[in-house]
């Protein structure tokens, strides 16, 4: 067809006009650090594993998860999930139930019998891990995956540390813990129980260990000076909780008073209730807002009938009774005595005032610095003695399972580097994907899934697990509530909203790239990216 000159044009010929020359700013794809990942003490790539869970690929999700944390089923129960506190979705409706999805994945792994991949190589190096708590298990796991031979020496009769001897069964069923420990041991980690390391240098030399990671935990209960009559029944929380694992259950009486405001105080009070106490009363110096225990735990305890007496200190203990002084908070929130006293009945008083570390194994080791009852470590988790690393409750930090697991991972990376004569170089963190970087319009309204709770009678009378897990539908739903903050999740918005067709879609899983020949730099893709994974940068001048 001979087409009339100029009147009729060939289709699509405007490709000859490179409108990219109009641009003064260019969009670039970036990755921002999601706040959940940033907040996770265990350094989990939460968004990463949620991504797979969103598509229903739970095994892949679990595998991504356990790259950082070998204990998802435990973590899904006992972690206080700072990730959820940081979750941007919290500003939209409610944060994503990361913890519940983690538990689902952990339970699914146990149910399906998923195993860790065997280490690809063997380095021939031997590492001693002291303590089979969360930190020690985590370090052992990561070291084993890096091809080192690992032996855990544990003073107690069972692995798990505080996970077993500090956390009640109703929060962490022991078969879950056992399954996750067993999976770590399946990697070839050797566990020696009932073996207290008395002298670390000696133990290392004897065993021919190239490095050691110390994670003995904090098992010694802190005492407070409370004038007490001889007949007063005063015990510490650590012993109470530990004895729950033995044959003989602790005898606390019908009216139990717990002194303290941390999670351990809550655990003991709830345990007492389950052991048959008609009254379990927590006495705490300050107010509920100031209480270190997590609010949801406090709430659950209250639901179960635990009572809490705020702004009170125990001044004296006698047989069957306590003397309590009322306190007030001063301007700075510090409790001050009022001089008002009262008496309350109590068959026993449980002190939950914190724990100390047994540092006896370090006696005589050169270069160590001990302060406030903890071992000081460098940022690479190494103590002052080369080759000896430490983590968990025995180093200065928040004392949670998740932090401990994080320590184990971090220490393992550094031990691995040290063993290779290198220094571990952490990957630089991206800028955090804060809420203002997102375009939340695009996320559908979806309230958080509520996890099922055990009925109240059983909560008050048995040690059955209180909080249930999600089923698959719920877990999928919850995973899909993730906003994928800061990282492209292939929603195609940039591809769709570009008026100049200057975004090239590379195909599923491959993301996008800009066609700068035609991109005019309008910035629509940036504005309409739901998750803040594009930014504008000035063109070079």
């Amino acid at each position: 067809m001979s087409k009339p000159f100029a009147i009729t044009l060939k289709p699509g010929t405007s490709l000859a006009n490179l409108t990219g020359t109009w641009r003064t700013e260019r969009p670039v794809y970036i990755n921002r650090l999601p706040p959940c990942n940033n907040a996770c003490p265990a350094g989990e790539n939460i968004q990463g594993w949620l991504f797979h869970a969103e598509s229903g690929d739970y095994e892949q999700a679990w595998r991504v998860l356990v790259q950082d944390n070998p204990l998802p089923a435990v973590m899904g129960r006992v972690c206080y999930h700072p990730c959820e506190g940081a979750c941007n979705r919290g500003q939209l409706d409610e944060s994503v139930g990361i913890n519940s999805v983690e538990r689902f994945l952990g339970d699914e792994a146990i149910k399906q019998g998923w195993k860790f991949d065997a280490p690809a190589t063997s380095t021939g190096k031997k590492v001693l891990v002291v303590g089979a708590g969360p930190s020690g298990l985590s370090a052992a796991y990561h070291l084993a995956r890096k091809g080192h031979r690992v032996e855990i020496q544990e003073a107690g009769p069972l692995a798990g540390g505080m996970m077993r001897f500090g956390i009640p069964k109703y929060r962490l069923p022991r078969e879950v813990l056992d399954a996750e420990v067993a999976r770590i041991l399946d990697l070839g980690v050797r566990l020696t129980l009932n073996t207290k390391v008395a002298n670390i240098e000696q133990s290392m030399k004897q065993g021919g260990f190239d490095a050691a990671f110390l994670a003995v935990g904090a098992h010694i209960a802190k005492r407070a000076f409370i004038p007490a009559g001889d007949a007063a029944h005063i015990v510490d929380a650590v012993s109470v909780l530990r004895s729950m694992e033995g044959e003989d259950k602790p005898m606390l009486g019908r009216r139990v008073v717990v002194y303290g405001g941390g999670n351990t105080a809550i655990d003991v009070a709830r345990t007492a209730k389950r052991l048959g106490a008609t009254e379990a009363i927590i006495v705490y110096r300050r107010t509920r807002e100031k209480m270190p225990a997590h609010d949801f735990e406090v709430e659950e305890a209250l639901q179960e009938g635990v009572m809490i007496k705020w702004l009170s200190t125990i001044k004296q203990a006698e047989e069957g009774s306590l003397t309590v002084e009322k306190m007030v908070l001063d301007d700075k929130g510090v409790p001050q005595p009022t001089g008002e006293f009262e008496t309350m009945e109590a068959d026993s008083l449980v002190l939950a005032l914190g724990q100390d570390v047994d540092l006896s194994l370090l006696e005589g080791v050169a270069g160590l610095e001990i302060s406030n009852g903890t071992v000081q470590v460098s940022p690479d988790m190494m103590t002052g003695f080369p080759g000896i690393f430490a983590g968990g409750d025995m180093v200065p930090s928040e004392r949670t399972v998740t932090v401990a697991v994080g320590h184990g991972k971090k220490a393992a990376r550094n031990i691995d580097a040290w063993l290779r004569g290198a220094t571990y170089q952490p990957v630089a963190k991206h800028e955090i994907a804060t809420f203002d970087k997102l375009n939340p319009w695009y996320y559908s309204d979806a309230d958080k899934t509520v996890r099922p709770m055990l009925d109240m009678i059983r909560r008050q009378t048995s040690f059955d697990e209180v909080q249930g897990g999600l089923d698959e539908t719920n877990a999928l739903f919850e995973a899909r509530r993730c906003l994928s903050c800061g990282n492209c999740f292939e929603c195609d918005n940039c591809y769709g909203v570009c008026p100049d067709n200057a975004v090239i879609k590379l195909g599923p899983g491959k993301g996008f790239q800009f066609n700068y020949d035609y991109c005019k730099g309008c910035g629509l893709c940036v504005a309409e990216c739901p998750c803040g994974a594009i930014k504008m940068v000035p063109e070079e001048t």
Binding site: P11, T13, L15, N17, C491, V497, Y518, C522, L524
Partner: protein
Amino acid sequence: MGFQPVKFYQTGTFTVGNRLLAPMDRSVQAGQTRSNSINSGHRACQGCGEALGARYAIDAAMAESNNQLIAVNATGCLEVFSTPYPESSWQVPWIHSLFGNAPAVATGVAAAMKVKGKTDVRVVAQGGDGSTTDIGFGCLSGMFERNDDVLYICYDNEAYMNTGVQRSSATPPAARTATTMPVGPEPGNVFGQGKNLPEIAMAHGIPYVATATVADLRDLEYKVRKAMKMHGARYIHLFVPCPLGWGTASSDTILMARLAKESGMFPVFEAEHGEVTGVLKIRRQVPVEEYMKPQKRFAHLFGTHARPDMVARIQAIADRNIRKYGLLEDEGN
């Protein structure tokens, strides 16, 4: 209404694509093989809503017609920026004739297809608000009345942008244009009774009338595809913000469309044979100020010589839309 209900998938149907959806449930725009009916290299301004809207609409029509489509274009920005000799951005058979005759030209094309028995070839006519609501109004009404087999799409950016932002009968009250300057006691465009073209189209009793915005792609595609499934005269009024004419950031084009809808300034609905059959509810209602403030064409209503009285009158227009079309969830409908 507005789009096929989709199971909750992270972003529902608000984003262009959704990797969690089955391919057949995804938008045309998410597809790697979408037609790109209007190709790269066109000379629209940065962030042009009309270029975007045209690709959205024509790609959807292409998909629904199995690429058997002919497009007719009125004079206007879209025509000028897409076909400056010697280059054309169109990848569909396309004709531009005049400012005011796109509906009639489309009628002619449709008649030719009918007479030649090419029943699979479908015809779309398109124009801006000037050509649709003003100069081409007569032809449009004629096309409607005859119920010619044409889908007419109006890209409404509320003024004559091609000629330098002059008022059209789709320009909102109080808006600044080159012919309604923000001076005098009633600055900007007059508060008239308006010219509601979708309702005028409905008054013709044609099979399908719908409004849509570039901020609700799925809804737009659903409407274009629905319209393309029908025969006879069909009308889609597509709201396409203009960064140049409105004085907004080029990156805010979709935001503006969204706020127009969420404030009630632009009701999004569909109608069959003259009766409203569905509305797209407001999802997160905003006052009209939130929509107006980022736009320089309304700047004279805010700031030092603020005119809250005029803003209130515009809010009243939005409120009336909300009542009339039942745009809020709790208002029935």
